[in-house]
């Protein structure tokens, strides 16, 4: 008996539309909607089909709870394959499908299949070796997409590795990403070989592509500095002593703001730096050296600018992925923009 577990959103489960997007996780011991079509197509095999339905908003707003419920269903049902979607170009649904398939494949090490359009933001959440069937941008491409799902299930049941890889090449979305592979030659041999090629004027190829960092130009101040409200922002990890909010010292996922409205100076012993990327002893000795409050107060009194914002913002810029940092930066920028800030001094390490 082959067990297939299929994740669909509230709409494809027939629960309802946008008004039911907050629907919590529901386990159904049978196929629903698109699942019934797939089940029917592969019915020559003994299949036990079950469905997990969840509202699009619920999944994103209550991700922890949703995953907990889905984990329980998977542990109980013990599927051989996990399906999600297809999501076409639906963003929230696509993200949920990609996240779930990656998570299921990582944790239960079973094949996970989803389908989406190349423009779906869910692409960014696709883990290694997932099957992401290429679809059109709308449900108009449903019939051929479901045929693809069924075909892949047939091939997975047959365990025909070549047919499965052929399927991947023909029907899955190419999403070029870098992962670890094993070669037969250690780095020290390849390095010397590459150097000799370089020295002997032979053609050579770098193993790591050079991808330039996205350059974000520093914007010019739109008004006069004299009238500006200025905020202090740092990636240097400075937090009140004891780190009350548990800012991570590396691989940061959060940012915080701390009040400085009633201070002229950040005193030693009242703040500490949570950061594994630089020697924090200078900052611990004088926290103003990463969040220069003392200097800013002098300039404020001298009316070089109008006002210093009464909070500083902090994250830890080390060990984290650039995409995560971009998210954190956008979060801080949104808050600043909403607080009437005209300028920012961003201190980095």
């Amino acid at each position: 008996m082959i067990k297939v577990l299929h994740y669909v959103n509230q709409f494809f489960a027939g629960i309802g539309g946008e008004d039911k997007a907050g629907h919590e996780v529901l386990f159904l011991p049978h196929a629903v909607g698109v699942g019934a079509v797939i089940e029917n197509a592969v019915k020559v095999h003994p299949i036990e089909y079950a469905t997990i339905a969840c509202g699009d908003n619920y999944f994103h707003e209550e991700e922890e709870k949703a995953l907990q419920a889905i984990r329980a269903s998977i542990d109980r049902f013990q599927p051989d394959f996990f399906l999600a979607g297809p999501a076409f170009n639906a963003g929230r649904y696509g993200l949920a499908c990609a996240k779930l398939c990656s998570w299921v494949q990582d944790n239960w090490r079973i094949p996970a299949i989803t389908g989406m359009h190349e423009g779906n933001p869910g692409i960014r959440e696709v883990g290694r070796r997932l099957f992401v069937i290429q679809t059109g941008s709308s449900a108009a491409s449903m019939p051929e997409t479901l045929k693809c799902f069924s075909l892949l299930i047939e091939r997975l049941i047959s365990r025909d590795t070549k047919a499965i890889e052929d399927f991947r090449a023909e029907y899955c979305l190419p999403i070029p990403r870098r992962f670890t592979v094993k070669t037969d030659t250690p780095d020290y041999v390849r390095a010397v070989d590459l150097l000799l090629a370089k020295l002997n004027g032979q053609p050579y190829e770098s193993e790591i592509p050079r991808i330039e960092a996205q350059q974000d130009p520093i914007p010019n101040l739109t008004g006069r500095l004299k009238d500006a409200t200025v905020a202090l922002v740092t990636e240097g990890g400075l937090v009140p002593k004891g780190n009350p909010d548990r800012l991570e010292s590396s691989r940061g996922t959060k940012y915080f703001k701390y009040a400085i409205g009633d201070r002229d100076d950040l005193k030693r012993g009242e703040f500490q730096a949570m950061h594994t990327g630089y020697d924090t002893s200078t900052v611990d000795e004088d926290p103003d050296r990463i969040v220069p409050l003392d200097a800013m107060r002098v300039l404020e009194k001298a009316e070089r600018f109008k006002k210093l914002h009464d909070h500083y913002f902090v994250t830890t810029g080390t060990g984290a992925m650039p995409s995560k940092m971009a998210e954190i930066g956008a979060g801080i920028a949104d808050e600043l923009a909403g607080s009437g800030i005209n300028a920012v001094i961003l201190t980095a390490t």
Binding site: N107, R128, R178, T180, Y188, V192, S206, R210, S249, S250
Partner: protein, 428 residues
């Protein structure tokens, strides 16, 4: 300069009534070690354990591994400056047991008193299973000193003691009585070779910042020195010693003594190249100007050694990559063709920019794989060294249970991934 290296290897490590090497079997009498380390282990409890290649064993909280090397009587001592006054090394005769490591495990006594950068990072060493090709030393025998310090021991004392204990133990094991054991003799030198062969240096950048994140040269912190020439034979005698507990990225002391890049360059010396030796430099300088200068000085030294080409390796990640890339750039600017070796951080989903810094001059990169790719790590039969591991300050985990993590949880993984032949590639 010439070093005669007498290389022993073992095929069995076991507890015995005496400490001796018979044929290829090393027996160790634990009370001998206890006696040996007595004056170094005040308030530090030591458990002795053994692990063999391929065994289903996971060693946790690994802080360092040290290779048994000892000078024959009448010469200086190996690991100059540690537990003995420093003398020049790299000449004379040295005994080595090439597939045995003295492995130190433990947790610092007052972790909360350490700043984030000083805090050791968890390093596990899997002797078998999927983790083995990611764990430095999984192909060696291990004599493990599992240390438990009393809370009265200071972090600084513990740091110093664990290094001296391992080094003393390593010297002792290399000197044990040998019966019917044959050694292979190697001569480590840089003999003059044909002047038509291209001249190559090895740029060897270590992490050296502060306590718990530093490297020593003749027991002096590399952060207090300028880039310097080091003869390969000096490495074989333990001139470079690790005091860095950034586990995944560290070059363990045993790898300073037996570095595969040095071995490969010596192997090619006189055949396809003229290997000139190594330049020891440091990364993690505090400012960009300092990083740039470090690169300039390395390039100047390489130029004066007469190098036409360079292989560059580094210990570290992130911050240290900038010093490293400035070095590569400075070499290329000086006309020294350079190949640099690094791990990539492409993220768990593989789409992030591979390197934090990548100037256009660095056009000959060798990859060690994507160190941020998640992997499923099943348990092994036995855990040595502790009952709880620290998932990089974020959570703790019972090492007897499976978990999902990236290769940064393995001891010496960046270097080991390279030796295992891993690299990153585009995949659809």
């Amino acid at each position: 300069m010439e070093l005669e290296l007498f290389d022993y290897s073992i095929d069995e490590l076991r507890w015995g009534e005496r400490t001796a090497l018979t044929g290829k079997s090393l027996s160790v009498h634990a009370p001998d070690l206890r006696e040996l380390l007595k004056d170094l282990s005040h308030d530090i409890h030591v458990d002795y354990e053994i692990a063999r290649p391929g065994e289903s064993k996971r060693i946790v909280h690994v802080l360092d591994t040290v290779l048994p090397i000892a000078k024959l009587p009448g010469h200086a001592t190996t690991f100059p400056g540690f537990d003995s006054p420093a003398q020049l090394v790299g000449t004379g005769k040295t005994n080595r047991i090439r597939n045995l490591l003295v492995t130190v495990t433990g947790r610092f006594p007052n972790v909360e008193a350490l700043t984030p950068i000083e805090k050791p990072r968890e390093g596990i060493l899997d002797m078998g299973g999927v983790g083995a090709p990611f764990s430095y030393g999984s192909d060696c025998f291990h004599l493990i000193l599992s240390l438990t310090p009393a809370s009265s021991v200071s972090n600084a004392t513990f740091d110093q003691s664990l290094r001296n204990m391992a080094i003393r133990c390593a010297r002792y094991l290399a000197q044990v009585e040998k019966t019917n054991s044959e050694s292979e003799k190697q001569v480590i030198s840089l003999k003059p070779v044909s002047e038509h062969l291209p001249t190559v240096v090895l740029i060897y950048q270590v992490q050296s910042q502060l306590c718990c994140a530093r490297t020593f040269y003749y027991a002096e912190e590399v952060s207090k020195t300028l880039p310097t020439f080091v003869h390969p034979a000096e490495f074989f005698d333990g001139a470079v010693v690790s005091g860095n507990y950034k586990s995944e990225r560290k070059i363990p002391t045993s790898q300073h003594c037996a570095n595969p890049f040095i071995a490969e360059l010596l192997e090619r010396h006189g055949k396809s190249m003229n290997f000139l030796g190594a330049i020891l430099s440091r990364g993690y300088n505090d400012s960009f100007e300092q990083k740039k200068k470090m690169g300039l000085w390395v390039a100047r030294l390489a130029r004066n050694l007469g190098a036409e080409g360079a292989i560059a390796i580094m210990e570290g990640t992130g911050n240290g990559t900038v010093d490293f890339m400035q070095t590569v750039k400075a070499c290329e600017d000086e006309g020294i063709k350079t190949v640099a070796v690094l791990h990539e951080s492409n993220g768990p989903k593989g789409y992030e920019r591979p390197l934090v810094d990548h100037p256009k001059e660095a056009d000959g990169m060798i990859s060690r794989g994507n160190v941020s790719e998640r992997m499923y790590i099943p348990p092994l039969a036995t855990v040595i060294g502790g009952s709880e591991i620290d998932l990089h300050l974020k959570a703790s985990h019972d090492p007897r249970l499976p978990f999902l993590f990236d290769p940064t949880i393995f001891f010496g993984s960046y270097g080991k991934m390279g030796s295992s032949g891993f690299r990153a590639e585009y995949e659809n």
